[in-house]
Amino acid sequence: MSTKQILQKNAKKALKKPTPQTRRDFLILASGAAGAVGAGSFLYPFVSSMNPAADVAAAAEVDVDIKSLQLGQAITVMWRGKPIFIRRRTPEEVQSVQEKDASKFIDPELDKDRIQKPEWLVVVGVCTHLGCVPSGQKPTDNRGEYGGWFCPCHGSAYDVSGRVRQGPAPKNLPIPPYMFLDDTTLRIGKEAPVNV
């Protein structure tokens, strides 16, 4: 075997051998990981500064005194820039939305899934069609065919459970997170803690 053949054989062997992990691989990985952690902790304050500031977060909850509301009355409060309809429903109104089957509705949902206390309905008062504020907060307002709210823009009608029953609106009026602090105070913006 000539020297050239031996050299070629060794070269082929060296090519077949898997490259071992070197100190350089370790250093590249370690400095890359440290750099990623550094870049992340550098960027975190920038991203965080775009989140709601402390004064905005503090205004995220609104406490409402509902003591003076009589049966059948409704009030509007502002929460995070949106009107919230709070309505104290009469027993007849509650009775009118207690149907067992809601599958024929535009957005099927039962009344009992939308309330915490049957007397009190709390919904976001923005029409789900194009964002008008429906009328019906005063007894003298046009409340539409179903006795809840009527949107003057395109004629969507909501019942006293805030569900859309007629018109172009695709969804029921959404329910904001809320909880009863006591019998006369409502907190909008926070769910009651679940008792296990």
């Binding site: 920038f46 965080s48 500064s49 402390a54």
Partner: protein, 140 residues
Amino acid sequence: MSKDKVDLQPSQIAAAKEKGLKNWVEHRLPIFEFMNKELIEYKTPKNLNYFWNFGSLAGITLVVMILTGIFLAMQHTPHVDHAFESVERIMREVNFGWLLRYVHMNGATMFFILFTSICLEAFIMAPIKRPVNSYGLWVL
């Protein structure tokens, strides 16, 4: 190659023939070749000294100043009646607003120090480089 096609760098053509995420990026935007060229292959004089750090330090400070400046401008109100209130809000209410503002303040000082050092370097180095040029001393 027809006229409407973009001319590719040799590294982009090589990357197009290989597989993997790095080659996929390199084929479309040759940043790895760019970094390799600028940070590794680029020739430097062998009499480098610590004065040469100030250029990249000034560049990093410039990037930090632009970033913090943009994010501060998002929260600032440029109006004579509301500017002071908005700065107080940045310091107290905005998440990490105090950090962004202090980094921006100290970054300005840092930038000034670095720029002064670069000028100092030119003044000191100019008379001892060949061909000898002592205009820096004249400025001093």
